[in-house]
């Protein structure tokens, strides 16, 4: 059998793991070479108590809780003293006696717990950790019933702000160094460190630098005591009063598995779940702390209808009748903009609603700068893929080289960043980034910078051809749509070199929306609209006679039609400021012949709508997301409450009924079943195109911009403590550019585009490309709204208050810089 499997051409020949066999408490067990005794013991069902040990952190051996006796090291000789099992590698023939069989180990462990408790306040009744506390639990399971300590306890004033979000109660700390090791090793943000010595040792922050990390919430979760708490959850609930639900994070396309804890019909906190293939045991602060935005004062709870120019509450009947009348009047002059944040099932509902009910292919989920080139790329390289065909987190960990194109993982897909950093630390992964400067994230990945003026990524990629091979992975971000020619070049490079390619969007619903058929040229499963067989396929499954045969309009074209008063729109969860031209989107929404908005908040779009339908929050939903790997992540209903509004699917279903058509499902489960039934497209896939015009070279300064993870996006609304940890908005330029335009570090500068200007403090970045000005996309002011240009656009820059006239040409000035 095994011989056959080797000859099977599909079977990958994986090197067999080298095993070592040891005996723990008389039970023989084989574990992979390099396994620590503490984890080998878990395999025989022995849980050795521990505090500092964490399987994803490098061992430190600090707490000494996990002492075991070692009668035989595997060489016939025993260790004279008990050993910490978290730093002891399993050896062949080793014999280990844990607390199960060794009085020495038991005494050592009990003694250690007694030590840990002498300076611990034992304020469990008022501690957030009480009820889920490893110290409390292990004191009960492995400690003395009572302390023999009668002396004075060490005390500290409490609490200390490690950051606006993370608070430290020093007297509870057992100094296990999990938080400091996480920050140094996993996230690469060594802004907290142990300071002082002896019993006064404590976790400290630098006087000048706050604990400035996108991953700070993890230190709270891995703290084995209640020393680290979050400002937002502190004193909100007891763990045993919470109801936990596994969910998939809705903030980005990483697909993090989370645990959502609620009480009194409110989510109180979210924790990273345990998903070894995806987020391991981590998540980012946005995913952890940003979850109240749907429950603010602007939540829509009843349907609204525009009457005499005013939106007024209306009954569902009235709202549905009004919407149907408006949509019927529009005929086929209608478009659907579902946005990129829906579950696969809901996106599928919009796709079917557009095509089978409204009879149009005008649907585009991309509520962001996009392009035809991108639509073609998505059809060719992304749509209709499965997890097996895609690049995965595991692939990133094993890769030799990863090239980042228009993609800043720390800001735009933080869990991808963590996995890349792990690969960089553990497997010597080489990271190359095509970017205007080495960002904080790139530095933490040890990335080689290929300096690039935004818009010219394609040329930079040309230069990398001979540095990429079959063991490389190219990760391209959604911003590539703003750089003409980049996506086609990436696809060509991948097929020429054999490198793997993955497109990583920001929003959680993008991949799902593509698969559900929310692009004007793609039906569900990546079926091209232009392909008659594909249309027949889908029409048959949906039980309709036919589907519209011409490719629909993309979002920008729809909005242009709407601006001319020639189109009605159905929207869900979009924001004008996310689009390439926010002002134009607002005007289009104002001018649209009819506007139906399915919303949970009274957003800018909802305020302009003719009919607003309130829809359920994600936490009142079931369904799934597809992450960038095309991996399915389940969204479970967290809050089951009678008076939640209807889901998008139910509203679409009601609209369909009233239009005299069939949506085919009312709920997520049935929608998912319908999509699954369609299955994947087995016909011809779209071919790669190579017709894109690259950007012409431009004179003067060029804008670079991307979104910071914690910015003014609507999902962060209401999170005061979280937003206080956001990176401030700065304007980045190279030293030469700073000199040319008279800018100085820390001083205000004005950057101007066609639509206006904005003022920001200057940060001079040493390795930045000259003649490039970086500003955050949506921190303080949305950059496209303020300047009227995006990445790659022409801007001028000058010291604030100075005349913004263009200085001498760089050729005469550059030498002096």
């Amino acid at each position: 059998m095994s011989v056959n499997s080797v000859t099977d051409k599909n079977a990958e020949v994986a090197p067999r793991e080298e095993l070592v066999t040891l005996t723990i408490d008389g039970i023989e067990v084989s574990v992979p070479k390099g396994t620590l005794v503490i984890r080998a013991a878990e395999r025989v069902g022995v849980d050795i108590p521990r505090f500092c040990d964490h399987p994803l952190l490098d061992p430190v051996g600090a707490c000494r809780q996990c002492m075991v006796e070692v009668p035989d090291m595997g060489n016939g000789r025993g260790m004279p003293k008990p050993q910490a099992s978290c730093t002891l590698e399993a050896m062949p023939g080793m014999k280990i006696s844990t607390q199960v069989s060794s009085p020495v180990a038991t005494k050592a462990q009990e003694g250690m717990l007694e030590f840990l408790l002498i300076n611990h306040p034992l304020d469990c009744p008022i501690c957030d950790k009480g009820g889920e506390c490893p110290l409390q639990n292990q004191a009960l399971s492995h400690g003395h019933g009572e302390s023999r300590y009668e002396g004075a306890k060490r005390t500290f004033p409490k609490p200390v702000n490690v950051s606006a979000q993370v608070l430290l109660d020093r007297e509870r700390c057992v100094l296990c160094a999990r938080c400091t090791r996480f920050s140094e090793q996993i996230s690469g943000d060594p802004f907290i460190a142990l300071v002082e010595r002896g019993a006064l040792q404590q976790v400290g922050i630098y006087a000048d630098d706050p604990y400035d990390s996108y991953f700070s919430g993890n230190v709270i979760q891995i703290c084995p005591v209640g020393a680290l708490t979050s400002a937002s959850y502190r004193f909100q609930a007891r763990p045993f009063d919470l109801v936990s639900t596994p969910v998939t994070c809705e903030h980005c396309a990483a697909g993090c598995q989370l645990r959502s804890d609620h009480r009194h019909y409110q989510v109180k906190r979210r924790l990273a779940g345990d998903a070894p293939e995806v987020n391991e045991e981590w998540n980012c602060d946005k995913g952890r702390f940003a979850f109240v935005s749907g429950r603010l004062d602007d939540r829509v709870t009843t349907p609204l209808v525009r009457r005499d120019g005013q939106l007024v509450p209306a009954s569902w009947h009235e709202a549905i009748d009004t919407a149907v009348a408006g949509l019927k009047a529009a005929g086929d002059k209608v478009g659907v903009l579902p946005g990129g944040r829906l579950t696969v099932e809901t996106a599928y509902g919009y796709s079917r609603f557009a095509r089978a009910v409204l009879g149009t292919n005008n649907i585009d989920h991309r509520s962001r700068p996009s392009s035809d080139e991108e639509a073609a790329f998505l059809a060719h390289a992304v749509a209709g893929r499965t997890l097996e065909e895609s690049v995965t987190y595991r692939d990133l960990e094993k890769a030799k080289k990863v090239v980042l194109v228009c993609f800043e993982p720390e800001d735009e897909s933080p869990i991808v960043f963590l996995r890349l950093r792990k690969a960089y630390r553990k497997n010597k992964l080489e990271v190359v980034t095509i970017a205007p400067y080495s960002s904080r994230g790139s530095i933490k990945l040890g990335a080689t910078l290929v300096g690039c003026v935004p818009g010219r990524e394609a040329e930079c990629l040309d230069g990398l051809t001979d540095q990429i091979d079959g063991e490389s992975i190219i990760l391209v971000g959604e911003r590539a749509a703003q750089s003409p020619g980049t996506l086609q070049t990436v696809a060509r490079l991948a097929s020429a070199t054999g490198a793997k390619l993955a497109w990583i969007p920001r929003r959680a619903g993008e991949i799902g929306a593509i698969e559900a058929g929310c692009l004007p040229g793609l039906l569900p499963g990546g079926r091209p609209v232009a392909d008659a067989t594909a249309r027949v396929d889908v029409a048959a499954a949906w039980g309709t006679d036919s589907l519209p045969a011409t490719e629909g309009l993309d979002a920008e074209a729809m909005l242009a039609e709407a601006a001319a008063g020639q189109m009605a729109l159905v929207t869900a969860g979009i924001e004008p400021r996310d689009f390439a031209d926010p002002q134009a989107v607002r005007e289009a929404l104002d001018q649209a012949s009819f506007l139906v908005s399915l919303e949970s908040r009274l957003s800018e779009v909802a305020q302009r709508a003719d009919v607003v339908f309130p829809v359920a929050l994600l936490e009142e939903h079931a369904g799934s997301f597809l992450n960038w790997e095309h991996r399915r992540g389940t969204v479970n209903t967290v809050i089951r409450q009678g008076n939640a509004p209807m889901t998008d699917l139910r509203v679409l279903g009601a609209l369909s009924d009233a239009m005299g058509a069939e949506l085919g499902f009312r709920g997520s489960k049935a929608a998912g079943a319908s999509l699954d039934e369609l299955g994947a497209w087995d016909g011809e896939r779209a071919t790669a195109r190579s017709d894109a015009q690259r950007a012409a070279s431009s004179e003067g300064a060029v804008l670079a911009t991307w979104r910071q993870l914690l910015d003014d996006s609507a999902g962060n609304d209401g999170e005061v403590a979280l937003m206080a940890t956001a990176q401030p908005a700065v304007l980045r330029v190279s030293p030469a550019t700073a000199q040319r335009y008279g800018l100085a570090e820390g001083q205000q500068a004005t950057v101007s585009g066609v639509a206006g200007s904005m003022e920001l403090p200057v940060a001079v970045v040493d390795d930045m490309v000259d003649e490039v000005v970086w500003v955050p996309t949506n921190t303080g002011r949305p950059v496209r709204e303020a300047l009227g240009v995006g990445a790659g656009g022409s801007v001028t820059v000058a010291a604030a208050g100075a005349d913004a006239s263009v200085p001498d040409s760089p050729s005469t000035d550059g030498g002096a810089a």
Binding site: P59, C63, I118, G151, R154, G198
Partner: protein, 439 residues
């Protein structure tokens, strides 16, 4: 052989300005270096191995063997680090050596670095002894000027940089891996081993760490021969060593003698106990070595003799206490030191020393409860052998040995303050003199 002093390292201490290069050379200094540079590094290692020089920092690991553990195929540079962070209560041999004759150390450093194929040596000196650091810096400067250090030493093509580094006042930095962290600019805390320093030490490169006295002994071994060195001492503890006599003896000071000399002999050399008093207890090698009593006066002061007696040779820091001393008070002072110096990394040391101090204060104040002795011993047992490094073991050694020999004093600590049983002024050095009487 063990009845006479053997001044080797201390031979020139009485010379006028012994720390000057010219004076050191007048006595034959740097001749060993010239001889060593003509030998093969590997032969030097064997030479030191054959001489049976054991580490003088306390543990007694054979120095030549330590050198031979350096990997041959590691592409990183090899570093020699001299541990001159002498900070243990009672220990006072390296600092006077570097103060009086820094060139003895510097010559040893150059020979040892050559033997280990190292081109950069560091002397990590305790930060509080600024005058010693200046002497060392001056000596290194002189060695550079004379062509003994730097590029192309004595025309042999061998290059060596010597860096004198001042610590910042932490006992834990005498622990070799904490020393390396400190030398790299980090907070001094012991590192997890493996990897051992020989494989990945300073800047993750192969590193040899030796005590000052070990390295300073090397020139003599090269100059006078391995047999000369191995001819001194006892069967397994060869050579000469500095014995630092302090406390209640008439003439405290440094006595360089073959290993294996007894305390009785040393006290004689020191002029006997303080007039009218008798020995109560002593530490053989600093405060981290279990105390011994008058019954151990004739035990040879070598690694084996001390181990047999239940203690350790340590740094040969013989602190002598006469019958006026409260063992409870002495133990408390030592444990207070360890509590203060605990780096905080591991639980038993950080919390255990905190607890021991509070318990011992009760004993000193006569406020201990019955059962506290057992608790003291049990807490000590929970610390000893469980901590990350040996610092806490030193604290425990003081406690357990004190209870072992003087349990009655701890029992008295349940009722009577130590200062009543042993009026503290009586153990002051001048208690019996005119000065003391009027104080």
């Amino acid at each position: 052989m063990t009845d006479t002093l053997t001044p080797v390292l201390t031979a020139n201490w009485g010379d006028d300005k012994a720390w000057k290069l010219s004076n050191y050379e007048r006595r034959g200094g740097y001749k060993a270096l010239r001889k060593a540079l003509e030998m093969q590094p590997a032969d030097l290692v064997t030479w030191v191995k054959d001489a049976n020089l054991r580490g003088r920092g306390g543990a007694g690991f054979p120095t030549g063997m330590k050198w031979s553990f350096l990997p041959k195929d590691n592409p990183n540079p090899v570093y020699l680090v001299v541990n001159a962070d002498e900070s243990e209560p009672g220990t006072c041999k390296d600092i006077p050596l570097m103060m009086a004759s820094p060139h003895t150390l510097v010559e040893g450093v150059i020979i040892s670095a050559f033997a280990c194929n190292s081109h950069h040596a560091f002397i990590y000196c305790r930060g509080e002894v600024l005058h010693v650091i200046r002497r060392l810096q001056q000596a290194v400067r002189e060695a550079y000027s004379a062509g003994y250090a730097g590029k192309n030493i004595l025309g042999t093509g061998y290059d060596l940089e010597i860096t004198v580094h001042a610590g910042a006042g932490a006992y834990i930095c005498g622990e070799e891996t904490a020393l390396l962290d400190s030398l790299e600019g980090r907070r001094g805390q012991p590192r997890l081993r493996p990897p051992f320093p020989a494989v990945a030490g300073l800047y993750a490169s192969p590193t040899v760490i030796n005590n000052v006295e070990s390295i300073a002994s090397v020139p003599g071994i090269i100059a006078n021969g391995k047999d000369w060195f191995a001819g001194m001492g006892t069967e397994k503890s060869k050579g000469h060593g500095i014995f630092s006599l302090s406390g209640h003896v008439k003439t405290p000071g440094q006595f360089e003698a073959p290993l294996g000399i007894t305390l009785r002999e040393l006290i004689d050399l020191g002029g006997g106990m303080r007039e009218g008093h008798e020995l109560k207890f002593f530490t053989p090698g600093g405060s981290s070595t279990p105390i011994l009593t008058a019954e151990h006066l004739d035990v040879p002061l070598d690694f084996e003799g001390m181990a047999e007696a239940g203690s350790m040779l340590g740094t040969r820091a013989l602190q002598i206490f006469d019958e006026t001393t409260s063992v409870v008070r002495t133990t408390l002072r030592w444990v207070e030191f360890y509590k203060h110096e605990s780096c905080g990394k591991c639980t038993p040391c950080r919390e255990g020393t905190w607890w021991l101090v509070q318990t011992l204060r009760n004993f000193e104040a006569g406020k201990a409860s019955p059962g506290d002795i057992e608790k003291l011993l049990d807490v000590s047992d929970n610390i000893g052998g469980k901590s990350f490094c040996a610092l806490a073991d030193g604290a425990v050694a003081a406690v357990t040995s004190a209870v072992k020999f003087f349990r009655d004093e701890f029992e008295a600590g349940c009722t009577t303050p130590a200062w009543e049983l042993f009026p503290y002024e009586k153990s002051a050095l001048f208690a019996d003199s005119e000065l003391g009487a009027h104080a």
